[in-house]
Protein backbone atom coordinates (compact mmCIF):
# COMPACT_ATOMS: atom_id res chain seq x y z
CA UNK A 1 0.00 0.00 0.00
CA UNK A 2 2.04 3.00 -1.15
CA UNK A 3 1.41 6.37 0.46
CA UNK A 4 1.24 8.76 -2.49
CA UNK A 5 0.34 12.39 -3.03
CA UNK A 6 -3.17 12.63 -4.43
CA UNK A 7 -1.73 13.93 -7.70
CA UNK A 8 0.45 10.81 -8.02
CA UNK A 9 -2.39 8.49 -7.01
CA UNK A 10 -4.78 9.83 -9.66
CA UNK A 11 -2.08 10.09 -12.32
CA UNK A 12 -0.98 6.52 -11.67
CA UNK A 13 -4.34 4.78 -11.32
CA UNK A 14 -7.14 6.66 -13.10
CA UNK A 15 -7.21 6.49 -16.90
CA UNK A 16 -9.53 7.86 -19.56
CA UNK A 17 -12.49 5.62 -20.34
CA UNK A 18 -12.52 3.75 -17.02
CA UNK A 19 -15.47 3.12 -14.72
CA UNK A 20 -14.89 5.03 -11.49
CA UNK A 21 -16.98 4.76 -8.32
CA UNK A 22 -16.62 7.62 -5.86
CA UNK A 23 -18.71 6.47 -2.92
CA UNK A 24 -19.56 7.63 0.60
CA UNK A 25 -23.25 8.31 1.30
CA UNK A 26 -23.55 12.09 1.86
CA UNK A 27 -20.73 11.54 4.35
CA UNK A 28 -17.04 10.97 3.39
CA UNK A 29 -17.48 11.93 -0.27
CA UNK A 30 -14.03 12.07 -1.89
CA UNK A 31 -14.25 15.65 -3.18
CA UNK A 32 -10.49 16.23 -3.25
CA UNK A 33 -9.99 13.17 -5.45
CA UNK A 34 -12.77 14.28 -7.83
CA UNK A 35 -11.18 17.71 -8.11
CA UNK A 36 -7.83 16.13 -8.94
CA UNK A 37 -9.52 14.08 -11.69
CA UNK A 38 -10.87 17.37 -13.10
CA UNK A 39 -7.45 19.07 -12.86
CA UNK A 40 -5.78 16.21 -14.67
CA UNK A 41 -8.41 16.40 -17.43
CA UNK A 42 -9.63 12.80 -17.45
CA UNK A 43 -12.18 12.11 -20.21
CA UNK A 44 -14.88 9.59 -21.19
CA UNK A 45 -15.22 8.26 -17.64
CA UNK A 46 -18.10 6.06 -16.61
CA UNK A 47 -18.99 7.52 -13.22
CA UNK A 48 -20.71 5.24 -10.72
CA UNK A 49 -22.33 6.48 -7.54
CA UNK A 50 -25.62 5.91 -5.71
CA UNK A 51 -26.14 9.63 -5.07
CA UNK A 52 -24.16 11.74 -7.55
CA UNK A 53 -23.30 14.76 -5.44
CA UNK A 54 -21.83 18.20 -6.12
CA UNK A 55 -18.53 16.59 -7.10
CA UNK A 56 -20.33 14.69 -9.88
CA UNK A 57 -22.10 17.86 -10.99
CA UNK A 58 -18.59 19.32 -11.29
CA UNK A 59 -17.00 16.38 -13.10
CA UNK A 60 -19.93 16.12 -15.53
CA UNK A 61 -20.02 19.89 -16.13
CA UNK A 62 -16.26 19.91 -16.78
CA UNK A 63 -16.61 17.22 -19.45
CA UNK A 64 -14.98 14.27 -17.63
CA UNK A 65 -17.87 11.83 -18.03
CA UNK A 66 -19.85 10.16 -20.81
CA UNK A 67 -21.72 7.62 -18.66
CA UNK A 68 -23.37 7.67 -15.26
CA UNK A 69 -24.72 4.78 -13.19
CA UNK A 70 -26.74 6.09 -10.25
CA UNK A 71 -29.86 5.82 -8.12
CA UNK A 72 -30.61 9.40 -6.99
CA UNK A 73 -29.14 12.53 -8.58
CA UNK A 74 -29.98 15.73 -6.74
CA UNK A 75 -28.61 18.31 -4.31
CA UNK A 76 -29.94 16.80 -1.07
CA UNK A 77 -32.52 19.02 0.61
CA UNK A 78 -31.80 21.83 -1.90
CA UNK A 79 -32.96 20.72 -5.34
CA UNK A 80 -31.35 19.96 -8.67
CA UNK A 81 -27.84 19.20 -9.79
CA UNK A 82 -28.00 21.64 -12.72
CA UNK A 83 -24.89 20.38 -14.55
CA UNK A 84 -26.19 16.80 -14.38
CA UNK A 85 -29.55 18.00 -15.67
CA UNK A 86 -27.97 20.05 -18.46
CA UNK A 87 -26.06 16.97 -19.62
CA UNK A 88 -29.17 14.75 -19.65
CA UNK A 89 -31.67 17.33 -20.91
CA UNK A 90 -29.49 19.16 -23.47
CA UNK A 91 -26.32 17.10 -23.90
CA UNK A 92 -24.03 19.84 -22.53
CA UNK A 93 -21.05 19.79 -22.49
CA UNK A 94 -21.55 16.35 -24.01
CA UNK A 95 -24.26 13.68 -23.96
CA UNK A 96 -24.37 11.54 -20.83
CA UNK A 97 -25.64 7.95 -21.08
CA UNK A 98 -27.41 6.95 -17.88
CA UNK A 99 -27.98 3.59 -16.19
CA UNK A 100 -30.47 4.16 -13.44
CA UNK A 101 -31.38 2.04 -10.41
CA UNK A 102 -33.18 2.30 -7.10
CA UNK A 103 -31.01 2.58 -3.97
CA UNK A 104 -31.88 -0.97 -2.96
CA UNK A 105 -30.95 -2.33 -6.40
CA UNK A 106 -27.65 -0.52 -6.45
CA UNK A 107 -26.79 -1.72 -2.94
CA UNK A 108 -27.47 -5.28 -4.11
CA UNK A 109 -25.38 -4.71 -7.26
CA UNK A 110 -22.35 -3.52 -5.25
CA UNK A 111 -22.77 -6.41 -2.82
CA UNK A 112 -22.78 -8.88 -5.71
CA UNK A 113 -19.67 -7.24 -7.13
CA UNK A 114 -17.94 -7.42 -3.75
CA UNK A 115 -18.91 -11.09 -3.39
CA UNK A 116 -17.69 -12.24 -6.79
CA UNK A 117 -21.24 -13.01 -7.95
CA UNK A 118 -22.44 -12.08 -11.46
CA UNK A 119 -25.71 -10.74 -10.04
CA UNK A 120 -27.55 -10.03 -6.83
CA UNK A 121 -31.15 -10.84 -5.96
CA UNK A 122 -34.02 -8.96 -4.44
CA UNK A 123 -37.76 -9.40 -4.19
CA UNK A 124 -39.81 -8.25 -7.14
CA UNK A 125 -43.41 -7.09 -7.47
CA UNK A 126 -45.05 -5.09 -10.26
CA UNK A 127 -42.90 -3.40 -12.90
CA UNK A 128 -42.40 0.34 -12.62
CA UNK A 129 -41.71 2.63 -15.56
CA UNK A 130 -38.02 2.38 -14.65
CA UNK A 131 -38.17 -1.36 -15.37
CA UNK A 132 -39.77 -0.57 -18.72
CA UNK A 133 -37.37 2.31 -19.53
CA UNK A 134 -34.24 0.21 -19.06
CA UNK A 135 -35.70 -2.64 -21.08
CA UNK A 136 -34.31 -5.91 -19.80
CA UNK A 137 -31.11 -4.71 -18.18
CA UNK A 138 -32.53 -6.28 -15.01
CA UNK A 139 -34.23 -9.65 -15.18
CA UNK A 140 -37.17 -11.22 -13.41
CA UNK A 141 -36.49 -14.78 -12.28
CA UNK A 142 -38.29 -17.33 -10.11
CA UNK A 143 -36.71 -18.64 -6.91
CA UNK A 144 -35.74 -22.28 -7.69
CA UNK A 145 -36.90 -23.37 -4.22
CA UNK A 146 -40.10 -21.43 -3.58
CA UNK A 147 -41.06 -19.97 -6.94
CA UNK A 148 -41.07 -16.46 -5.42
CA UNK A 149 -40.64 -13.63 -7.94
CA UNK A 150 -37.13 -12.20 -7.74
CA UNK A 151 -35.26 -9.49 -9.58
CA UNK A 152 -31.70 -10.20 -10.69
CA UNK A 153 -29.47 -7.14 -10.66
CA UNK A 154 -26.16 -7.38 -12.52
CA UNK A 155 -23.09 -6.89 -10.34
CA UNK A 156 -21.25 -3.57 -10.36
CA UNK A 157 -17.48 -3.98 -10.56
CA UNK A 158 -15.80 -0.57 -11.00
CA UNK A 159 -12.35 -0.35 -12.51
CA UNK A 160 -11.48 2.02 -9.67
CA UNK A 161 -13.27 2.84 -6.42
CA UNK A 162 -12.22 5.95 -4.54
CA UNK A 163 -13.19 6.54 -0.90
CA UNK A 164 -12.43 9.13 1.74
CA UNK A 165 -11.88 7.92 5.32
CA UNK A 166 -10.84 9.23 8.72
CA UNK A 167 -7.56 7.42 9.38
CA UNK A 168 -4.75 5.31 7.99
CA UNK A 169 -2.24 3.58 10.28
CA UNK A 170 1.49 2.92 9.81
CA UNK A 171 0.75 -0.34 8.03
CA UNK A 172 -1.71 1.30 5.64
CA UNK A 173 -4.97 -0.04 7.10
CA UNK A 174 -7.85 2.41 6.73
CA UNK A 175 -10.69 3.17 9.18
CA UNK A 176 -14.13 4.57 8.23
CA UNK A 177 -16.43 5.82 11.00
CA UNK A 178 -20.06 7.04 10.86
CA UNK A 179 -22.47 6.75 7.96
CA UNK A 180 -20.85 4.30 5.53
CA UNK A 181 -23.50 3.86 2.84
CA UNK A 182 -22.25 1.23 0.43
CA UNK A 183 -18.61 2.30 0.72
CA UNK A 184 -17.31 -1.04 1.91
CA UNK A 185 -19.15 -2.96 -0.83
CA UNK A 186 -17.96 -0.49 -3.50
CA UNK A 187 -14.39 -0.87 -2.22
CA UNK A 188 -14.46 -4.66 -2.33
CA UNK A 189 -16.19 -4.75 -5.74
CA UNK A 190 -13.44 -2.71 -7.43
CA UNK A 191 -10.35 -3.85 -9.29
CA UNK A 192 -8.37 -0.95 -7.85
CA UNK A 193 -9.05 0.91 -4.57
CA UNK A 194 -7.76 4.41 -3.84
CA UNK A 195 -8.34 6.08 -0.48
CA UNK A 196 -7.85 9.61 0.79
CA UNK A 197 -7.75 10.07 4.57
CA UNK A 198 -7.92 12.86 7.11
CA UNK A 199 -4.87 11.75 9.08
CA UNK A 200 -2.15 9.19 9.54
CA UNK A 201 -1.88 7.62 13.00
CA UNK A 202 0.26 4.96 14.64
CA UNK A 203 -2.71 2.77 15.58
CA UNK A 204 -6.35 2.94 14.47
CA UNK A 205 -8.81 3.69 17.27
CA UNK A 206 -10.98 0.85 16.01
CA UNK A 207 -13.22 -1.53 17.97
CA UNK A 208 -13.32 -5.14 16.75
CA UNK A 209 -16.27 -4.66 14.36
CA UNK A 210 -15.26 -1.29 12.98
CA UNK A 211 -15.16 -0.75 9.22
CA UNK A 212 -11.46 -1.29 8.51
CA UNK A 213 -10.08 -1.87 5.01
CA UNK A 214 -6.87 -3.95 5.29
CA UNK A 215 -3.82 -2.41 3.63
CA UNK A 216 -3.41 -5.20 1.07
CA UNK A 217 -6.77 -4.30 -0.56
CA UNK A 218 -5.65 -0.76 -1.24
CA UNK A 219 -3.63 0.43 -4.24
CA UNK A 220 -2.75 3.85 -2.81
CA UNK A 221 -3.54 6.05 0.18
CA UNK A 222 -3.18 9.84 0.17
CA UNK A 223 -3.38 12.01 3.28
CA UNK A 224 -5.70 14.89 2.39
CA UNK A 225 -7.06 16.72 5.45
CA UNK A 226 -10.48 18.20 4.72
CA UNK A 227 -10.64 15.95 1.63
CA UNK A 228 -14.40 15.38 1.96
CA UNK A 229 -15.35 19.08 2.11
CA UNK A 230 -18.13 20.27 1.52
CA UNK A 231 -19.30 16.80 2.53
CA UNK A 232 -17.97 15.82 5.94
CA UNK A 233 -15.91 13.43 8.00
CA UNK A 234 -17.57 12.46 11.30
CA UNK A 235 -15.37 13.36 14.25
CA UNK A 236 -13.30 15.79 12.11
CA UNK A 237 -15.67 18.41 10.65
CA UNK A 238 -19.34 18.89 9.83
CA UNK A 239 -21.15 18.99 6.51
CA UNK A 240 -20.95 22.44 4.93
CA UNK A 241 -24.71 22.74 4.42
CA UNK A 242 -24.31 26.42 3.55
CA UNK A 243 -22.09 25.53 0.60
CA UNK A 244 -24.62 22.97 -0.62
CA UNK A 245 -27.25 25.73 -0.61
CA UNK A 246 -24.88 28.16 -2.39
CA UNK A 247 -24.08 25.58 -5.07
CA UNK A 248 -27.65 25.93 -6.33
CA UNK A 249 -26.81 29.44 -7.62
CA UNK A 250 -23.27 28.66 -8.74
CA UNK A 251 -24.24 25.69 -10.92
CA UNK A 252 -27.48 27.03 -12.42
CA UNK A 253 -25.82 28.83 -15.37
CA UNK A 254 -23.06 27.35 -17.52
CA UNK A 255 -20.92 30.50 -17.54
CA UNK A 256 -21.03 31.09 -13.80
CA UNK A 257 -20.25 27.42 -13.18
CA UNK A 258 -17.24 27.48 -15.50
CA UNK A 259 -15.93 30.67 -13.95
CA UNK A 260 -16.33 29.27 -10.43
CA UNK A 261 -14.49 26.06 -11.37
CA UNK A 262 -11.73 28.11 -13.04
CA UNK A 263 -11.28 30.46 -10.09
CA UNK A 264 -11.45 27.78 -7.41
CA UNK A 265 -10.72 24.19 -8.43
CA UNK A 266 -8.47 24.82 -11.44
CA UNK A 267 -6.72 27.82 -9.90
CA UNK A 268 -5.76 25.76 -6.84
CA UNK A 269 -2.77 23.46 -7.07
CA UNK A 270 -4.28 21.09 -4.53
CA UNK A 271 -7.07 20.65 -2.00
CA UNK A 272 -5.27 22.51 0.79
CA UNK A 273 -5.08 25.59 -1.43
CA UNK A 274 -8.74 25.23 -2.43
CA UNK A 275 -9.85 25.12 1.22
CA UNK A 276 -7.84 28.31 1.91
CA UNK A 277 -9.40 29.99 -1.13
CA UNK A 278 -12.88 29.05 0.13
CA UNK A 279 -11.90 30.41 3.59
CA UNK A 280 -12.70 27.05 5.15
CA UNK A 281 -9.24 26.81 6.66
CA UNK A 282 -6.89 29.55 7.80
Amino acid sequence: MPLLSLREAIAGHVRDGQSIALEGFTHLIPFAAGHEIIRQGRRALHLIRMTPDLIHDQMIGMGCATQLTFSWGGNPGVGSLYRLRDAIERGWPQPLAIAEHTHAEMAVAYQAGASGLPCGLMRCYADTDLDRARGGRLARIACPFTGAALRAVPAITPDVTILHAQQVDREGNVLLRGIIGAAREAALAARCLLVTVEERVDRLAAPANAVVLPHWLISAVSVVPGGAHPSYAAGCYERDNRFYVEWDDIARQRERFQLWMQEHVLASADHAELLRRLRITA
Binding site: F25, R123, I180, G181, P225, R239, N241, A272, I280
Partner: protein, 268 residues
Protein backbone atom coordinates in the same frame (compact mmCIF):
# COMPACT_ATOMS: atom_id res chain seq x y z
CA UNK B 1 -46.84 33.41 20.14
CA UNK B 2 -49.41 34.04 17.46
CA UNK B 3 -51.99 31.33 16.80
CA UNK B 4 -52.30 32.41 13.16
CA UNK B 5 -50.79 29.76 10.92
CA UNK B 6 -50.19 29.08 7.25
CA UNK B 7 -51.18 26.14 5.04
CA UNK B 8 -47.66 24.62 5.20
CA UNK B 9 -47.79 24.52 8.98
CA UNK B 10 -51.30 23.08 8.95
CA UNK B 11 -50.10 20.39 6.52
CA UNK B 12 -47.06 19.44 8.60
CA UNK B 13 -49.00 19.33 11.88
CA UNK B 14 -51.73 17.22 10.24
CA UNK B 15 -49.15 14.85 8.75
CA UNK B 16 -47.40 14.45 12.11
CA UNK B 17 -50.73 13.47 13.71
CA UNK B 18 -51.00 10.52 11.30
CA UNK B 19 -48.08 8.79 13.04
CA UNK B 20 -48.77 6.61 16.07
CA UNK B 21 -46.35 6.42 18.95
CA UNK B 22 -43.97 3.45 18.74
CA UNK B 23 -44.26 2.97 14.98
CA UNK B 24 -41.12 2.26 12.93
CA UNK B 25 -41.01 4.87 10.21
CA UNK B 26 -38.76 5.08 7.12
CA UNK B 27 -38.44 8.82 6.49
CA UNK B 28 -37.98 10.72 3.23
CA UNK B 29 -36.16 14.05 3.30
CA UNK B 30 -37.96 17.42 3.27
CA UNK B 31 -41.64 17.63 4.28
CA UNK B 32 -41.78 14.02 5.57
CA UNK B 33 -38.75 14.60 7.78
CA UNK B 34 -40.29 17.74 9.30
CA UNK B 35 -43.58 15.92 10.04
CA UNK B 36 -41.85 12.89 11.56
CA UNK B 37 -39.65 14.96 13.85
CA UNK B 38 -42.60 17.09 14.93
CA UNK B 39 -44.48 13.87 15.83
CA UNK B 40 -41.49 12.60 17.80
CA UNK B 41 -41.32 15.86 19.77
CA UNK B 42 -45.05 15.97 20.51
CA UNK B 43 -47.43 13.00 20.76
CA UNK B 44 -45.10 10.20 19.57
CA UNK B 45 -41.85 10.30 21.59
CA UNK B 46 -41.16 6.61 20.90
CA UNK B 47 -41.53 6.88 17.13
CA UNK B 48 -38.55 5.04 15.61
CA UNK B 49 -37.13 7.02 12.68
CA UNK B 50 -35.01 5.33 10.03
CA UNK B 51 -33.37 7.36 7.27
CA UNK B 52 -32.01 5.67 4.17
CA UNK B 53 -28.47 6.67 5.15
CA UNK B 54 -28.66 3.72 7.55
CA UNK B 55 -29.32 5.78 10.67
CA UNK B 56 -31.75 3.74 12.78
CA UNK B 57 -33.66 5.21 15.74
CA UNK B 58 -32.31 8.69 15.16
CA UNK B 59 -33.42 11.73 17.23
CA UNK B 60 -32.08 14.84 15.49
CA UNK B 61 -32.22 18.17 17.35
CA UNK B 62 -32.38 20.12 14.08
CA UNK B 63 -33.90 18.95 10.80
CA UNK B 64 -31.27 17.45 8.52
CA UNK B 65 -30.65 19.14 5.16
CA UNK B 66 -29.62 15.83 3.63
CA UNK B 67 -30.58 12.28 4.61
CA UNK B 68 -26.98 11.78 5.72
CA UNK B 69 -26.26 14.77 7.98
CA UNK B 70 -23.93 14.02 10.90
CA UNK B 71 -26.72 14.95 13.31
CA UNK B 72 -28.63 11.82 12.23
CA UNK B 73 -25.70 9.50 12.90
CA UNK B 74 -24.71 11.18 16.18
CA UNK B 75 -28.22 10.75 17.65
CA UNK B 76 -29.01 7.26 16.26
CA UNK B 77 -29.38 3.96 18.12
CA UNK B 78 -27.16 2.42 15.45
CA UNK B 79 -25.78 3.23 12.02
CA UNK B 80 -25.90 0.39 9.51
CA UNK B 81 -24.72 0.10 5.91
CA UNK B 82 -26.98 0.83 2.96
CA UNK B 83 -27.31 -2.80 1.86
CA UNK B 84 -28.35 -3.59 5.45
CA UNK B 85 -30.95 -0.88 5.83
CA UNK B 86 -32.65 -1.79 2.57
CA UNK B 87 -32.39 -5.59 2.88
CA UNK B 88 -32.51 -6.33 6.62
CA UNK B 89 -34.86 -3.57 7.72
CA UNK B 90 -37.03 -2.63 4.73
CA UNK B 91 -37.23 -5.73 2.51
CA UNK B 92 -37.37 -8.04 5.55
CA UNK B 93 -40.60 -6.26 6.57
CA UNK B 94 -39.50 -4.37 9.67
CA UNK B 95 -40.87 -0.97 8.64
CA UNK B 96 -44.42 0.02 9.67
CA UNK B 97 -44.72 3.31 7.82
CA UNK B 98 -42.94 4.72 4.78
CA UNK B 99 -43.27 8.50 4.60
CA UNK B 100 -42.77 9.88 1.10
CA UNK B 101 -43.18 12.89 -1.14
CA UNK B 102 -42.79 13.23 -4.91
CA UNK B 103 -43.06 15.61 -7.87
CA UNK B 104 -46.26 14.02 -9.19
CA UNK B 105 -49.01 11.77 -7.81
CA UNK B 106 -51.98 10.26 -9.65
CA UNK B 107 -55.46 9.37 -8.41
CA UNK B 108 -54.27 5.93 -7.22
CA UNK B 109 -51.29 7.11 -5.18
CA UNK B 110 -48.65 6.16 -7.77
CA UNK B 111 -45.65 8.52 -7.63
CA UNK B 112 -43.24 10.15 -10.07
CA UNK B 113 -39.83 11.43 -8.93
CA UNK B 114 -37.92 10.66 -12.14
CA UNK B 115 -38.75 12.91 -15.13
CA UNK B 116 -41.21 15.44 -16.52
CA UNK B 117 -41.64 14.69 -20.21
CA UNK B 118 -40.13 11.77 -22.10
CA UNK B 119 -37.61 9.58 -20.23
CA UNK B 120 -35.01 9.63 -23.00
CA UNK B 121 -35.34 13.40 -23.70
CA UNK B 122 -36.87 14.84 -20.52
CA UNK B 123 -38.13 18.40 -20.18
CA UNK B 124 -37.08 18.28 -16.53
CA UNK B 125 -34.82 15.62 -15.16
CA UNK B 126 -35.80 14.99 -11.51
CA UNK B 127 -33.46 13.27 -9.00
CA UNK B 128 -34.86 9.78 -9.59
CA UNK B 129 -35.77 6.73 -7.53
CA UNK B 130 -33.58 6.80 -4.45
CA UNK B 131 -35.23 4.66 -1.81
CA UNK B 132 -38.81 5.50 -2.73
CA UNK B 133 -39.83 2.53 -4.97
CA UNK B 134 -38.68 0.00 -2.39
CA UNK B 135 -40.21 1.95 0.52
CA UNK B 136 -43.50 2.19 -1.39
CA UNK B 137 -43.39 -1.57 -2.03
CA UNK B 138 -42.26 -2.91 1.35
CA UNK B 139 -43.40 -0.58 4.16
CA UNK B 140 -46.59 -1.97 5.80
CA UNK B 141 -48.29 1.27 4.84
CA UNK B 142 -47.33 4.52 3.17
CA UNK B 143 -48.04 8.15 4.04
CA UNK B 144 -47.55 10.81 1.39
CA UNK B 145 -47.20 14.53 1.97
CA UNK B 146 -47.42 16.86 -1.06
CA UNK B 147 -48.72 20.29 -1.91
CA UNK B 148 -51.76 20.02 -4.13
CA UNK B 149 -51.68 21.67 -7.57
CA UNK B 150 -52.79 20.67 -11.09
CA UNK B 151 -49.12 20.18 -12.03
CA UNK B 152 -48.41 17.77 -9.16
CA UNK B 153 -51.80 16.01 -8.78
CA UNK B 154 -52.15 14.66 -12.28
CA UNK B 155 -54.54 12.37 -14.16
CA UNK B 156 -51.60 10.60 -15.75
CA UNK B 157 -48.01 10.48 -14.44
CA UNK B 158 -45.19 11.32 -16.83
CA UNK B 159 -43.33 8.36 -15.25
CA UNK B 160 -44.28 5.87 -12.56
CA UNK B 161 -41.30 5.67 -10.22
CA UNK B 162 -43.05 4.16 -7.18
CA UNK B 163 -46.18 2.03 -7.06
CA UNK B 164 -49.30 3.04 -5.18
CA UNK B 165 -52.47 1.16 -6.04
CA UNK B 166 -51.47 0.89 -9.74
CA UNK B 167 -54.86 0.91 -11.57
CA UNK B 168 -56.85 0.36 -8.37
CA UNK B 169 -59.52 -2.18 -7.36
CA UNK B 170 -57.04 -4.67 -5.97
CA UNK B 171 -54.36 -4.56 -8.67
CA UNK B 172 -51.66 -3.87 -6.07
CA UNK B 173 -52.82 -6.71 -3.82
CA UNK B 174 -52.88 -9.13 -6.73
CA UNK B 175 -49.32 -8.17 -7.67
CA UNK B 176 -48.19 -9.53 -4.30
CA UNK B 177 -46.71 -6.40 -2.71
CA UNK B 178 -45.95 -6.99 0.98
CA UNK B 179 -47.05 -3.46 1.94
CA UNK B 180 -50.68 -2.29 1.81
CA UNK B 181 -49.98 0.95 -0.09
CA UNK B 182 -50.79 4.61 0.61
CA UNK B 183 -53.03 5.03 3.65
CA UNK B 184 -53.27 8.82 3.39
CA UNK B 185 -52.09 11.72 1.28
CA UNK B 186 -51.73 14.89 3.34
CA UNK B 187 -51.90 18.08 1.26
CA UNK B 188 -52.18 21.80 1.89
CA UNK B 189 -55.98 21.46 1.53
CA UNK B 190 -56.68 18.40 3.68
CA UNK B 191 -56.41 14.60 3.63
CA UNK B 192 -57.07 12.19 0.76
CA UNK B 193 -57.60 8.48 1.40
CA UNK B 194 -58.16 5.52 -0.95
CA UNK B 195 -61.73 4.37 -1.51
CA UNK B 196 -62.30 0.95 0.11
CA UNK B 197 -63.23 -0.68 -3.20
CA UNK B 198 -61.80 1.28 -6.13
CA UNK B 199 -58.73 2.55 -4.18
CA UNK B 200 -59.12 5.90 -5.93
CA UNK B 201 -57.98 8.75 -3.68
CA UNK B 202 -60.81 10.87 -2.36
CA UNK B 203 -60.96 13.93 -0.18
CA UNK B 204 -61.97 12.80 3.32
CA UNK B 205 -60.96 15.79 5.44
CA UNK B 206 -60.44 19.47 4.85
CA UNK B 207 -58.73 22.26 6.78
CA UNK B 208 -60.70 25.07 8.37
CA UNK B 209 -61.12 27.79 5.74
CA UNK B 210 -60.27 25.51 2.79
CA UNK B 211 -63.03 24.71 0.29
CA UNK B 212 -63.88 21.65 -1.75
CA UNK B 213 -64.00 23.79 -4.91
CA UNK B 214 -60.45 25.03 -4.33
CA UNK B 215 -59.21 21.49 -3.62
CA UNK B 216 -60.85 20.29 -6.84
CA UNK B 217 -59.32 23.15 -8.81
CA UNK B 218 -55.89 22.11 -7.49
CA UNK B 219 -56.35 18.51 -8.68
CA UNK B 220 -55.72 17.31 -12.22
CA UNK B 221 -58.36 14.56 -12.08
CA UNK B 222 -62.07 14.83 -11.12
CA UNK B 223 -61.54 14.65 -7.34
CA UNK B 224 -64.22 12.70 -5.49
CA UNK B 225 -65.30 13.79 -2.03
CA UNK B 226 -66.20 11.33 0.73
CA UNK B 227 -69.91 11.21 1.70
CA UNK B 228 -69.01 12.60 5.12
CA UNK B 229 -66.31 15.22 4.79
CA UNK B 230 -64.55 15.94 8.08
CA UNK B 231 -63.37 19.46 8.89
CA UNK B 232 -60.06 19.20 10.72
CA UNK B 233 -59.40 21.37 13.77
CA UNK B 234 -56.92 24.24 13.57
CA UNK B 235 -53.41 23.14 14.64
CA UNK B 236 -52.77 22.88 18.34
CA UNK B 237 -50.80 25.98 19.43
CA UNK B 238 -48.37 23.73 21.31
CA UNK B 239 -47.65 21.74 18.11
CA UNK B 240 -47.18 24.99 16.19
CA UNK B 241 -44.73 26.27 18.78
CA UNK B 242 -42.64 23.08 18.59
CA UNK B 243 -42.66 23.15 14.78
CA UNK B 244 -41.52 26.79 14.64
CA UNK B 245 -38.79 26.20 17.19
CA UNK B 246 -37.56 23.22 15.17
CA UNK B 247 -37.54 25.21 11.93
CA UNK B 248 -35.79 28.21 13.49
CA UNK B 249 -33.06 25.98 14.95
CA UNK B 250 -32.71 24.27 11.58
CA UNK B 251 -32.37 27.52 9.65
CA UNK B 252 -29.71 28.81 12.03
CA UNK B 253 -27.77 25.54 11.81
CA UNK B 254 -27.82 25.44 8.01
CA UNK B 255 -26.70 29.06 7.66
CA UNK B 256 -23.65 28.66 9.92
CA UNK B 257 -20.31 29.20 8.21
CA UNK B 258 -18.02 26.20 8.44
CA UNK B 259 -14.43 26.43 9.58
CA UNK B 260 -12.15 23.42 9.62
CA UNK B 261 -9.25 23.42 12.03
CA UNK B 262 -6.91 20.97 10.42
CA UNK B 263 -4.95 18.80 12.84
CA UNK B 264 -1.70 19.12 10.86
CA UNK B 265 -0.48 20.16 7.44
CA UNK B 266 -0.97 17.71 4.58
CA UNK B 267 1.64 14.98 4.47
CA UNK B 268 2.51 13.14 1.33
Amino acid sequence: MTTAYNADEMMTVTAARQLRNGAVCFVGIGLPSAACNLARRTHAPDLVLIYESGTVGTRPQVLPLSIGDGELAATATCVVSLPEVFAHYLQRGRVDVGFLSAAQIDGYGNLNSTVIGDYARPTVRLPGSGGAPDIAACAREVLIIMKQSPRSFVARLDFMTSCGYLGGTGERRRAGFPGAGPRAVITDFGILRPDAVTEELQLVAIYPGATVDAARAATGWPLRVAPTLETLPAPDPADLAVLRELQAATQAAHARALRIDLPRPAQT
